[in-house]
């Protein structure tokens, strides 16, 4: 693993930017932090099967991926949200035509510390907690403790998705915002660590990050519906209410190496990797 990485690194240094630009032998993949492990796993398997071809994967956030695609510094942008109108018009100005390809599904888990007695919430309660109108755990059946809200930084597609689909409940004209007191952490792992060590914290991230140190909340659409836990089966069935598609974006119709890589990601092998990295495949 390490050796391979070293060889790739050296090859990249030797062949340098010329190759990255021409795209003959290597692909630059950039974007969503949620998808960086998935992209990395794809790249490793792909390079194993296609020696002599290089795939470099970097994170930075969905927005970072889009701006790199627009400025031509990457071939594939990974994104956990759809591209915005503003970004499309900016891309068109530069002669770039972003094409969306759905590659996987992701359930967003809402997590608390295992010591927290609360284990199920409705979407309304979640919206109340994250906008700050519910500020004490006792209002949702927990202890008399102040709720510590953890959110991802605003360059995260997960942040944007959660705001649009939980806080604003899909209403495009909604004005709801995260509470000002929400802590903005720079990675999903940072949220996982803080939840693991803080009994009054609540956070959210892709289900891949759930471990024994956090407890995933069962979520219901409204008070009269069933409470659903974020598991792969429930996301595939569409029962779990907070799940989202994951995309990759390329310029125009994929060609050459980029097409080959995307085909690899979309078929059996690639989708098996999706399942292994705790996301939900789009084909069964």
């Amino acid at each position: 693993m390490f050796k391979k990485g070293l060889i790739i690194l050296m090859a990249l240094m030797l062949t340098g930017p010329a190759l990255a630009k021409s795209g003959k032998n290597s692909i630059q993949v950039k974007g969503s932090d949620t998808m960086v492990n998935l992209g990395q796993a794809w790249a490793e398997k792909y390079m194993e099967e296609n020696p002599g071809e290089f795939v470099a994967v970097t994170g930075g956030g969905s927005g970072t991926g889009f701006s790199s695609l627009i400025s031509g510094t990457c071939d594939i942008a990974m994104a956990s949200r759809s591209i915005k109108g503003k970004e499309i018009s900016l891309a068109n100005q530069k002669g770039i035509n972003p094409t969306e390809i759905k590659v996987a599904l992701d359930g967003l888990a809402v997590v608390v510390n295992p010591a927290n007695p609360v284990s199920k919430l409705t979407l309304d309660q979640l919206a109340g907690i994250f906008t700050g109108t519910i500020s004490n755990w006792k209002d949702v059946g927990g202890k008399d403790e102040k709720i510590v809200i953890l959110s991802r930084e605003i360059n995260s597609g997960t942040h944007v998705y959660f705001k649009e689909h939980v806080l604003r409940k899909g209403n495009a004209d909604g004005k709801e915002e995260f509470a000002q007191s929400a802590l903005l952490l720079s990675s999903s792992q940072a949220i996982a660590d803080e939840v693991a060590g803080n009994a009054s914290a609540i956070g959210y991230y892709g289900m891949g990050y759930i471990s024994a140190k956090q407890k995933a909340i069962a979520v219901a659409k409204d008070a009269s519906s069933e409470y659903i836990t974020p598991t792969i089966e429930n996301v595939v069935d569409g029962k779990y209410p907070i799940s989202r598609p994951l995309f990759i974006y390329v310029n125009g119709a994929p060609q050459g190496l980029v097409k080959k890589f995307i085909d690899f990601a979309l078929y059996k092998e690639g989708q098996d990797i999706v399942l292994k990295t705790d996301f939900v495949p789009i084909i069964k």
Partner: protein
């Protein structure tokens, strides 16, 4: 021939001397060009005193008062911690410590300065943050206080080494004179040495504070980054620097958000400029 050589060298040095000013002016002009564009959508008053920072909402709310106060609060906390310890440490090294201990302490201080800030931030995140949380019974340890303590570590090496130099450069005769008049060691230090070195010590403090206000990585990791009006040092804050670092990657080039981040850069520039000017004024008054 010798004259020509002399001439060339003189001019080369002149160019080197002017280069730094030239670059500062260029940077400032670039900041102004990009940053002032934000004021076509939001008034300077609303920008500086607005209490809501929601840059990616539609329409964006671009008020940076919580960020300014966050930066100032963290810096103030760091100054309160690092100035007494730093100056005390400098006095001890320069005046009291035996020669061999002096060398060990100086090496230690230099080592502290050599630790990259991201490493300090990481250490703070896993050790200091949980400690602050349990010690003060707070809902979270990601607070301004944690940031202040960690930044104090970063300011200390600057303060100690420059203040110590200032103490060394006090003429030996001052000290001898004080002793000759029958002053004790402590009286000599606080009545003679400290006042005589005060200009250098103020410079040391100012440079230390300058380092703190511009620090980014460590504060981003341990202050929680909540853009809320800070009402206590035990609450999370979001600083100016962390905001630029966290959001620059996402900002769409040419958007209001992008210009607003450059305008924050101008504010930071003005704050550090003000710190330097105050230090300068103070020094010249003393002279």
């Amino acid at each position: 021939m010798r004259k020509l050589k002399e001439f060339i060298i003189e001019k080369l040095i002149l160019i080197c001397g002017l280069a730094s000013i030239f670059f500062v002016v260029l940077i400032f002009l670039f900041l102004l060009k990009e940053g002032l564009a934000v004021f076509s959508t939001v008034s300077p008053f609303k920008f500086l005193f607005g209490k809501n920072w929601y840059p990616i909402s539609d329409p964006p709310q671009l008020g940076i008062l919580p960020l300014i106060l966050g930066s100032l609060l963290v810096t103030l906390g760091a100054a309160i911690i690092s100035i007494p310890i730093g100056v005390g440490c400098a006095v001890y090294i320069a005046e009291v410590a035996p020669a061999n201990l002096k060398e060990i302490l100086k090496a230690g201080i230099e080592l502290l300065a050599a630790i990259p800030s991201v490493v300090l931030g990481f250490i703070g995140m896993v050790t200091l943050v949980p400690f602050v949380k349990t010690f003060f019974h707070l809902p979270t340890g990601l607070t301004a206080l944690s940031g202040s303590i960690m930044l104090a570590f970063m300011a200390m090496p600057t303060i100690v080494s420059i203040a110590e130099d200032a103490l060394y450069s006090v003429p030996k005769t001052y000290k001898e004179g004080a002793f000759a008049l029958g002053a004790t060691h402590w009286q000599t230090i606080h009545r003679v040495m400290l006042p005589a070195a005060s200009r250098g010590i103020v410079a040391a403090i100012m440079l230390g504070i300058g380092r703190v206000i511009g620090e980014t990585m460590a504060v981003m990791m341990i202050t929680g980054n909540a853009a809320v009006m800070p009402n206590s040092i035990f609450a999370p804050v979001r600083t100016l620097t962390a905001t630029i670092a966290a959001e620059m990657g996402e900002a769409v080039v040419g958007s209001e958000h992008y210009f607003a981040l450059f305008a924050i850069g101008i504010v930071l520039f003005i704050i550090s400029f003000a710190i330097n000017v105050t230090a300068d004024l103070f020094l010249h008054k003393r002279q």
